[in-house]
Amino acid sequence: MGRLLDDHFHIVAMTPLVVALLVLTAYPAAQLVRMAFSEVGLVSGGTTWSFVGLEHLRTLAQDRVARIAFTNTLLFTVVVVPIEAVLGLLLAYLVNQTRVLGAFYKTVLIVPLLLPPIAIGALWRLMLDFNYGVVNQALLAVGIGGPPWLASPTLALPMVMLVDVWHWTSFMFLIFLAGVASIPQELGEAAEVDGATPWQVFAHVALPILKPTIVVALMLRTILAFKVFDVPYLLTGGGPGTATEMINIYIEKVFFQQFRVGYGGMLTLLTALILSTFVIVYQQISRRAEAAQ
């Protein structure tokens, strides 16, 4: 028996992983699909299910907040991802040329990535507080009355974006750090000897080499940006009104505050489908980028 098990050690070793994936991911995914087409009632100790077909899609067509949440998430993604990519690339490129203090910069610049996002929300919630936040207190010291940054319908979304840039530039920095390290030093030096300016070296030597990394980083960050939840949840909770409503925040409300389990399931399923499309495109592109290297 022991001998037999050992001969099939590869199967024994794979079993926990396969079982975990089936129980923890495949089964819940199937449940999600079932939910999206059902009305689910929560009764003590269990649930009641009744099939409703495409009813939830009809609800969605009438749902103004869902549309706003989707538009906000899209706008948020389109704004923050390019900014974070440019800043992350710039910082990684500069750190790579630095020997003095290089380790210090690297260490500090990845700190936001290690903090719990909810703590990041709290840091900025405290700083941007209308009454006692350091930002408005500093403004007051020079005679300016600061606005309610997070309670203003026009300022709230830009503030959520600003905090996201503070948070996720570190991620782009980390990815590009590996990319810039692979640029042969001699190439830049040779170009400089030939009289190229630092900008020309960056644009004509570094950028072409980094192109596959940039494409992968942009795709990856886009997928992650769609998941945005914790920081706006803490900063604004989606408000004021619907000014910073995001897909995931809205789903959480539908599901766990209004207990519309079936409709929440449909919203989740659609989000997952949109992202899946992204993921599949991403996998194609990153495979091609790997092949090109």
Binding site: H10, L32, T47, V134
Partner: protein
């Protein structure tokens, strides 16, 4: 050192970025050491240092952060051990043995797919399942839920670490008559120890950072974690700035410790995790 204009601009930009990164954290650390009156009057420098905000998190009948910290640790350590056990076996099989090609492609593809999906995809079904099996509002449910968050990159990471160690030692062990399980346990696993550290650190950090699953799968301090405690501050009408700042610093402790002591592990692990996953 010869200072060229380029170097000055470069250090100026990098130092600026480092300051922008650190200032919010420093500011919050300072706020956590102030009495309420000094926070309200906006004193930046000449304030009396106090630990009262930290005391209030842990002492007194309404203090919940002791329980929340214990729960965060249970979820973090529990899910890390669970994931390391499952992932190291699976990753070893994937990198060392000839499995049916469809199976390994399916498993790796599905892992990547799961990693990319927003956690909220699993939040709804997990909520229903947790209620059904009676694990709702316990740290145990977070051990399992966090395993879903971290299993994908743990397998990817460990697979690449196993691939780095030379096969010859294992082959020699096999010639000496060692069993395959023994070879894994006594040779492959010890050689991947740095990889296990890096992966374990990251799984712990991901569990520690989670807010969504804790929000959805727990409802009281019995099962809640530190992020839940932080979020509950903003639901109060009167914001308790000092305590909120102290709780935020508490949540930041692992990040600070890791940056000081395990920086190289995490940079390598996170870069690979980020690009692969």
């Amino acid at each position: 050192m010869r200072l060229r204009p380029g170097a000055i601009v470069r250090h100026g930009v990098l130092m600026g970025a480092a300051l922008v990164t650190l200032l919010p954290i420093v500011f919050t650390a300072v706020t956590s050491l102030k009495f309420r009156r000094d926070i309200i009057s906006g004193r930046f420098f000449d304030f009396e240092v106090t630990w009262v905000n930290y005391q209030r998190l842990f002492e007194g009948s309404r203090a919940v952060f002791g329980q929340l910290t214990v729960n965060s640790l249970i979820a973090g350590i529990g899910s890390t051990l669970l994931v390391l056990a499952i992932a190291s076996l699976g990753a070893y099989a994937l990198s060392r043995f000839r499995l049916p090609p469809r199976l390994s492609a399916l498993v790796l593809g599905w892992l990547l797919f799961v990693y990319m999906l927003p956690p909220i995809t699993f939040a709804g079904p997990f909520y229903l399942i947790a209620r059904q099996i009676g694990l709702f509002d316990t740290p145990a449910v977070l051990v399992i839920a966090h395993a879903v968050l971290t299993l994908p990159f743990a397998v990817w990471l460990l697979q690449s670490f196993f691939a780095e160690i030379p096969k010859e030692l294992e082959e020699a062990a096999a010639l000496d008559g060692a069993s395959r399980a023994g070879t894994f346990w006594r040779i492959a696993l010890p050689m991947t120890l740095p990889g296990l550290y890096a992966t374990g650190i990251l799984t712990f950090v991901f569990s520690w950072k989670d807010f969504l699953f804790a929000l959805v799968l727990t409802s009281t301090p019995r099962g809640g974690t530190i992020p839940i405690g932080i979020a509950s501050f903003v639901q109060e009408w009167d914001l308790r700035y000092g305590e909120m700042a102290a709780a935020t610093m508490l949540a930041a402790v692992p990040a600070i410790v890791l940056v000081l002591f395990a920086q190289r592990h995490i940079i390598k692990g996170m870069t690979m995790g980020a690009v692969k996953g």
